[in-house]
Homo-oligomer: 132 residues x 2
Amino acid sequence: MGTVMERQTSQRHEIRRAFERTHRPLGAQEVLDIAGKRLPKLGIATVYRAINQLVEEGWLVTVKLPGEPTCKYELANKGHHHHFHCNDCGKVYDVDGCPGGLSDMVPDGFSLQGHDLVLYGQCDTCEKTAPR
Amino acid sequence: MGTVMERQTSQRHEIRRAFERTHRPLGAQEVLDIAGKRLPKLGIATVYRAINQLVEEGWLVTVKLPGEPTCKYELANKGHHHHFHCNDCGKVYDVDGCPGGLSDMVPDGFSLQGHDLVLYGQCDTCEKTAPR
DNA sequence: ATGATATTGATAATTCATTATCAACAAGTA
DNA sequence: TACTTGTTGATAATGAATTATCAATATCAT
């Protein structure tokens, strides 16, 4: 006793499962939609609590996307990568690689600590559906 | 009569002036801060009304920044460029240049139509204030 | 200058995401 | 099994940005 214990619950299990099986960044509401299919009584408050915990313990990281007012989350164990945002279906895909020459763009006197890059276009699925 | 007329007001003039003189994307509150120095009674509602008008007539464009829940605005007549977001003061600066090799990152079957890049770090002002 | 009306400013209302509350529930231990 | 207490779910509360309201004001054609 004396030690704070963390209990294993089906809710937290399903929330983690949602991230493990969906290979794109998810927002709180999306997590509720996905995990809620297996746990119909799951509440949004529990999702927020779980996400905050998972971020705190380093299992999730926040994903900031331009134009998305609320941030999404994804597994932390992915390496540095960027995202491809499909203009048609709105889904966000992980992409590997990283552009070079960023430090050349930094103004004098500024220090570069990080960067975000989002590619826009059509994903392969939408490319077939509505070729242009 | 019959024609809708748009009147020239000092408020709208000062709001446009804020964008013309500040070479970085501005949010509504920032516009109020800047234009409000010359028009102390300027209200935030007027700023929102003016911004919405200017976007509608194509004089401003929205700037979507990752992690910024609220979007900012800048002159539409700037060419393609990116932004530097100061982690300390939160200001956003324009930067020239554009990284190459983006098309190499695009997955097979995907088509690239555009991209957003945001650099993060410390601006020159914050660099001096809190060097690290 | 006058009048019609577009515009403003103060603020109430709205919207939405997130957090707090708290009684009911359930995981884990003895 | 029974008990302790961490966890949940429904919802109220909060916070922040944006929009609506409306009387007062200012612009512009006449």
